[in-house]
Amino acid sequence: MTRKPPDYARRQRHRFSRRALLVGAGQAGLFGVLGWRLHQLQILDSSDYRLLSDENRMTMQLVAPSRGAIYDRFGTVVAEDRENLRVLVLPAFCKSLSATLDALATVVPVSSATRDRVARSARRQSGYYPVLVAEGLSWRQFALLNVLAPQIPGMRTDRSAYRLYNHSRPMAHVVGYVGMAGKEEVNADPVMRLPGFRAGRAGVEKTFDRELRGTPGAIKYEVDVRGRVVRELGSRPSTKGRDIVLTIDHHLQTVAQDRIKDHRVASIVVIDVVTGGILVMASTPTYDPNDIAFKVDLEQWKELGRNPDHPMHNRAVRGQYPPGSTFKVVTALAGLSAGVIDEHETMRCPGSYAVGRKRFRCWKSHGGGIDVHQALKQSCDVYFYETAKRMGIDHLALVARELGLGQTYDCGLPGQKPGLIPDQAWKRANLFDAWYAGETVIAGIGQGFVSATPLQLAVMTARVATGRAVLPKLVMSPNDPAEPWPLLSLDPAHLEIVRSGMIAVVNEKGGTAGRSALELGDVQMAGKTGTSQVVSSRNEHKLSAYERETHALFIAFAPADAPRYAAACVVEHGGGGSRAAAPVVKDVMTELLLRDPAARPAFVSNNQDAAPSAVAAAGPVR
């Protein structure tokens, strides 16, 4: 008789059933533990917790960081945080919001607009988030409120900071200003909701906002039911933002601003051709950031918006002008490099130039024997009409871009305009039309489609002066390698021809800017005037007398024999370049050479970022 083999499968099923019941019982038991825990918390100790919940609540207050300071190149503070005494309310802790505001109104004025704003914020966000009632309190008001604190539930006083701009009007366009964070920024970083937290809105304040901002701290308080602080539980200090040191010399900036302020709209840029550092960037009309950064004066703000001359626009990077005759420097270099002209070739200027049926005028009849030197010195249009026509637009555009035109620079200035260096491809892509010979001819004297900003013209001048691919810089970085800029792909001999032409413009008899020669002994300035036309047959009838006037331009570098500084000045509707723009550059350049800021050591802050990075996307634009 054989024994029946054990039925393992059946045994396994039984074992599973036994163990599944065991596991089920275990689960029930552990749920019992949870029930016991809930019983302990909600029944046995409930009164303790209710007390904690009703009488002692914790609240966390974020502490806004102090914003980094902005210095000029020699350490003059141009923007800094100053103490700001404020009063806020925590709506959740007020017995009644309006009663609290009434109590506050006995010490500080609370307008009905403020009441509306506070009530709106209280509705929109959690009641445990402080809402600003008034700021910029006097010490007297601040002390009085602190004394009254126990009688005013939900009130909180605090000391925060506001932004003070020194030398505000000349520096406004470069430094920019701060303002309340916009909705998108608040969504990206809730810290921005902190009352009094300001974000950069324009200029360096905007570009380097991340560096300047710092990181907020926090204080945890235990507060009672009326929002009074019982004790501080702990805190984490805030970290001050990084300082920024500009390459601007505020003294020269002020001199330049004073010099251009008599013109209705004008701007001037001066850069150090060796480092690319921008020493001066002035634009008129200007504004005072103190009016809009802290307590916004609504009337002032509206006025700024209404002004037809747009005082908040930085003309140095946002003004795009036809460069006029200053562009002849480019045409000359392009012609020489294309081999269509040489140093000795002479042309005759009968006062006009014919392309097909069309005639292009020269500003005067220069007669015969005009070589490239004379053409630059006397600014002969016909010479450059012919040069441009011989080489064609595409080569001209190539050299113009090599000289830094038609692009924005990653130097930390937001809102830069790229200007325009046209070529055949551009016209086909944008205007869906073929390029005409006449357009090449007028491009040769910087008219037509060609446009550039004053900053671009200054960079162009610096590149001509050094033969190197200079790029502008606005912020000092302490450990910047002092490497020279890479060489341009232009023949040094050609550059020398153009430079000698530019020296002649200012220093030779018959040069267009002869009256603006420096009076500094043998230190000379080289330059080129420009007078660009804004009127065309199409828009003539629409413009006022002021708007019909030509733009006055002047580019220059000095000292002529060993270039260190390059400048570009544009006076909108200022008339002739030699009359309106060149004298401005002469005065600024004189002050600059006497002061020689490039030779003096720059300021280094101990709270400076090693490598500030511009947030604004900037790069070559075709």
């Binding site: 054990p6 393992y8 499968a9 045994r11 396994q12 099923r13 074992r15 599973f16 059933s17 163990r19 599944a20 019941l21 596991v23 089920g24 689960q27 029930a28 552990l30 749920f31 533990v33 949870l34 029930g35 825990r37 809930l38 019983h39 918390l41 909600q42 029944i43 100790d45 409930s46 303790d48 917790y49 209710r50 904690l52 919940s53 009703d54 609540r57 914790m58 609240t59 966390m60 959740a92 959690s126 009641g127 445990y128 945890k220 539980l233 702990g234 984490r236």
Partner: protein, 384 residues
Amino acid sequence: MKLLFAETPAPKLNLSKKLLLLNWPFLLLVTSIVLVGAGALYSVAGGALDPWASRHVVRFCFGLALLFAVAFSDMRWWLRGAYPLYLAALLLMLLVPLIGVESGGARRWLGYGEFSFQPSEMMKIALVLALARYYQWLPPEKIWRPDALVPPVLMIGLPLLLALAQPDLGTAMLFAVIGGGLLFLAGVSWFYFGAVIVGVVVALPHAWEKLHDYQRERVLTFIDPERDPLGSGYHILQSKIAIGSGGLSGKGFMQGTQAQLNFLPEKHTDFIFTMFAEEMGFIGAVALLALYLLTLFFITYMALRCRSIFARLIAAGMGLCLFTYVFINVAMVTGLVPVVGVPLPLVSYGGTSMLTMIVGLGFVLNAHVNRRVTLRREEAGALW
């Protein structure tokens, strides 16, 4: 009679039969828990369907479609697909450290554009299927043999280590509980479980000696959050105050004050039980726990009624998963265990965890529908 039953060929099930066999009361129970969650989310949003409550319900409705699809699918199909699915999940988990997206200090997600995906969630299902598949294949008389333990321990160990590396302690713990629980239910000897426990107890002090001071400090803070009152301890204290102040009957729907204090970090996800217990009190909290417990009993009951070990283990495994989630979450917000960031299933807001749980419940129902099906060993195929 018994003989007769065993020889009955596997019943052919068509859809109408499957619909009849489905456990409808169970589905009703699950739906009621989801609706409790929607109510809580409505309250958290300050009395608004947006942004959480409405989407919670919509997601559940989409989930239901998936649940039915899983419940009515052919069980043999899953039997054959268990290992490939497991391997795919393992491969994706391996990819996470290489190309994963980092969020909140841990790498858990695989993502491309708007679409993101957490392979460890897929692994929770795949692990249960793979273990069930293994024990369906293993002859019952060989269960006691030590070498039969090697494959399942590897199956559990690999994803567990990967989860620890992410680091995702909650998921690692879940893998350990599901894996250990299934081994236990499959019939692995008590002896091995005892040995593991003794081993851990012996090894712990030695590991402690080897840690650096700062590492010990971190572990201590993890175990006792109140050592760091500004950090995680703060949230637990807030959570306890909220729950405790709810008392017997709670402060009333949408009347919770502590949750509105805004210092509960994730009150619509991990800390939703806190808010619920504050507003609904002891009665509400216990009622919700009772709903979960009833669900768990249903699952155990369904597991017991299945004939094949495959179906039994699948149902029980998903039950273990649900239990672990609920227990860890509630224990965490009541301060019984350290904060590990585990959602409350079906109640917390969040797409991925909801999806996993619903698919898991779909498998439970699949097992239930196929409860009369007997699977022969050969149907499982070879070991690999």
